[in-house]
Symmetry: D2
Subunit: 357 residues, 4 copies
């Protein structure tokens, strides 16, 4: 289909490109740094070639969440948001952005979030999992955002009407040494990202935040970071063991997933997992995304365009669910005639075979 | 869930009850005639007991479509619509109705349809498959509604903004004797209904009627009368063999199914078939219905309330899709807070097991 | 995967090729006749290119079932079986065949079936829907095979341990004129094939034949000819209305479908329909097939090789279910190491994207 | 269906019952200790009432894995295996058992495993996640079983032909304090069990153990501990980032899941998750289990008996897959006529509704 929107798409600051490239000892390592810098060249061209009309970009992991010094984190956030905004402003009909913010204090987060949304026109905020910090003894620790200290942050998010994308970052060094040094291939997208983000997401979901701030929308990548596979068991046990005892949230996890949470396909182009998500939480909660430049726009687009589901559902995943979640995007976009958007899906599905007729 | 709406629900005229009862040589044959007469007693009580707020009722098969004499058919339609309207008017906050019309001429159909909608407040029209008639030689024949003679009918349907429910009736006597006399158990809901209605529906869908009158909405019962199982093959062959040659319709059958057609669960409470329908045409096209009194409200409601899909999708099937299709119903109904509607589904899903905790 | 087996693959007699080609007024009409004659050239080459190791071929529709004269039908069957056998014998490690038989009398059918299986080495019998015949008044009529007159046929089928493939043919001329002359695009694979074959299959299934001859195996093409979409409703009504009254069969239709019936993907490469079939009747009853030359081997193979299901289930559909149904094929085939068969599926699934790593 | 087999079913030693009961501050806390002791009374009665013929029982979590002293762990394992064996021997036609072993050294593990299998007749081994131990500094640490030190253990497992059930236990105290003290409701079945077991399982799967010992069978509870939701992403990244670099395993994770891993439904009676598992890894890898006494036999049995899938697949999940995995069980069981096993499923599905007929 035409007019696709994608929303877990990363860039980095110019000064980070070299490090990014060196992080991965791959044969074509140069590419990653360059790819994170590129937006208006190759990436836009690949978007054009695949019917992707719009991308919501964001600072690459870990962003401010990886900086233990509150001042550094805050100034990093400002610098990154300014830089990303400039990228967007070169083609505002094709790009928007998630802000990043320091989560050392809720005040810092709110101030920068407001600036990013109200002055820079950013459409949401992306948090790279927990906020790292040093405790009184100089030990590395992390804040999770179900902590009551973040109440004002969630209030501001609700008041500004912007979604929060909870994105992974690497585990704490202690955890890396305990669990991953003997099996480093499990780090990152293979497993640790989902492990850590699923914990954090479930902590937020069950904390009661959505009861206090029902307007808050949380977005999870990778088709829900494994949580959907466990949903029945989560609610089954919370209801029979924790309800009426220690559980702070008033509704079932399923209800929050259906009302406050969205999942994207970023980095997880899997048809059985997608169909499972459709039956668990409904098609209206699922958003197409690619996870550029770590994933390939052509691969993701081909997958979503040929999904064995209805045209209408492809259109929801590919575009209209994103417009419902980011209503202010609508005025930036071209005409929204669903029929035209679906035309090339039709074409794809019926030009496979000439046959004898 | 509460607030469910059902829409393939039948009644008969008082004078027909006895015949209906005698049609079926069952041990409790009396019940059927009585059940078709009843609406405000047992049926309403069973609706109440199962969270069914509203039913759109209709004349039982074959209605005017079974009468070969045009005048008889027309006067039957008037009489039936008047009678059904009176039933509705006794509790307009719980019932609405589909009109029946004689399809001997498009004029007769349009006049009665307008009267039914504009004067009697009916919300749609239900056609019992083809219209039987006698040809010049007195031979029994049938009209299908893709015939160009019905153009004005479809124009009126579009102009009045009312859905058309295509409902089965028994095959022609010749066909019964040729195919079913040796295996009568295949008649009716087991097989012949779907066989005949699927043919008629596909004839209408591929005729170009929806190109000429894009506002027309067609409703099929029994989860699509088998057509969804064949959808891929239908379009595959129409596109490679008939497109550009004899095919009058401009779009794929899938496109019409996603834009002009709705399917109900009437008489087909099958979870695999429903999940299949969700992936083929999308959840927004599927409407809960029971097919009373031939099916049981409790059985249908229990099924839909415990479907292994999201709350949101149960709410769509059970209620909100029907409100989108019949917008004028909305003002008759009680408050529409989705949360309250879903409450008892929550309850159903989590009171199954006390366990040890 | 490698080693795929396909089993609804048609050829025609040399004298039929010209007529076949002229039947279809397509721009490349010549192809069809030639394609039905070809087996060891282009078709084999396309099999090789797509990992199809083996094909069970059969006489194109309508075969003997279209001949109203018993003698003609019988001699046609003999001639066709001899011809098809010769085709097979040129490469018995790549091809086997279904026999055709005249169904005018069960004696004729049994004699030719035995000859075909025991002398010619054919592995099953393919019936092109009902047998046409002329009644006493010279009127065209048809036999369906649930007729008690075929008892000895089913007994022979069971005794020989060969599957019966029930394949479509065109409707009777009367039915064509009544239903299809105004909408010819519904004829054949688009709709009439499934309509007629589903009726015939359901007649056989509910007749009690499988109770009398539990070893009989029936194969249906096109993912079950729409019947799976209706299965819940069929059994629901047979059980509540017909069981204990007129229903001759002792089990539910679901039980026969799971024990006596197989469905192939011939001409219906639809993922939602296939997943539906998996949940309705289980993966062990589904067989890959293409329906050459009407369908394209490359298209079918690409579809089955990239299905969003497990490797094991692709292997079942693509090969091992066929070997379970036709055990005598096993000795003709190359080594059956599943790992090797799956290798190129692995390759297909992971060479899509180079990425940055 | 009748004849169901369940295999994640726990008991505790008599001396543990009181502690187990006090662990959970629930209103009916007494029940848990008593329920873990009971087997031949209430539990057997509930099995009988629900068509469960056979249960493979096991020591409750954490077993020897929770004991940091090697000698204590080893003697605990012996004591527990002896006790559990006695329970089994009271009704060997209804029960079998998984052994527990200390994993402090592979020698200890192998000796006790052999004794349990060869002398006590146990049919597999169940490991409660990692083995806790104290390092040189007295700090609490854990071994995972992908460590090369366990090579001889896996060799013995393969040689004895017994499955290994990887079962959860609680996280390390440090991790509890870091992640769960602020949100204790996420501990155990709600989330931490799946988090930790999924890590451990994936570590084993990607370690190359199944390449070295291809006969090893690993069983995971709770429908795969969330891993199936991530399978596409896991293989996608391992293949494009780690293959040919640091990845020790030679095949894709999907291949191991389809050849060396089984998942049970213990504690996760969720239809969408089950259907997802069917499409991801195939019906032959899925085993019914309840997780008594933490879960309810009636609830689990009702769920599996009314699953919206084929009779054949319910029979596989409910019984025949378990017999394929534990072939030596077959001789203990009653006659295995599938038809009789399915009879009461038939009955369940068709006695819901009397209707009018």
């Amino acid at each position: 289909m035409r007019g696709k929107i994608i929303l877990e798409e990363h860039v980095c600051l110019p000064e980070e490109a070299e490090v990014e490239s060196s992080k991965f000892a791959s044969s074509n390592a140069q590419d990653l740094g360059r790819a994170l810098l590129d937006l208006h060249q190759d990436r836009l061209q690949e978007m054009n070639a695949n019917g992707v009309e719009f991308a919501i970009i964001s600072q690459n992991t870990p962003g401010p969440q990886g900086l233990t010094d509150p001042n550094e984190a805050a100034s990093y956030a400002t610098r990154s948001n300014d830089y990303v905004s400039e990228l967007v402003d070169q083609a505002p009909e094709r790009f928007a952005a998630f802000a990043v913010v320091s989560m050392h204090t809720t005040e810092a987060a709110v101030v920068e979030l407001k600036r990013a949304v109200e002055r820079l026109g950013m459409v949401g905020v992306l948090l790279h999992d927990s906020q790292l910090y040093l405790d009184d003894k100089g030990q590395l620790r992390e804040y999770h955002y179900d902590d009551p200290r973040y109440d004002e942050f969630w209030a501001a998010v609700e008041q500004l009407s912007v979604p929060v994308y909870l994105h992974p970052k690497s585990p704490l060094p202690d955890e890396i040494s305990r669990l991953y040094s003997a099996r480093p291939w499990l780090l990152g997208p293979v497993y640790s990202y989902a492990r850590d983000t699923s914990f954090h997401a479930l902590a937020i979901i069950t904390s009661g935040i959505f009861d206090k701030y029902p307007g808050v929308k949380l977005v999870l990548g990778h088709l829900g970071e494994m949580l959907l596979a466990h949903l029945g068991r989560i609610d089954h046990w919370l209801e029979k063991r924790n309800r009426g005892k220690d559980l702070p949230s008033q509704k079932t996890v399923r209800e929050y997933l259906e009302n406050n949470v969205y999942v994207t396909t970023a980095g997880h182009f899997s048809t059985p997992a997608l169909v499972h998500a459709m039956t668990e939480i409904g098609i209206d909660r699922i958003l197409f995304s690619v996870d550029t430049p770590f994933e390939n726009i052509t691969e993701g687009s081909t997958w979503v365009d040929t999904l064995p589901i209805s045209h209408g559902d492809v259109t929801k995943i590919g575009r209209t669910n994103a417009l419902a979640l980011f209503p202010r995007l609508a005025k930036r976009l071209r005409s929204d005639e669903v029929e035209k958007l679906q035309q090339d899906r039709q074409r794809v599905l019926f030009t496979k075979n000439a046959g004898f007729w």
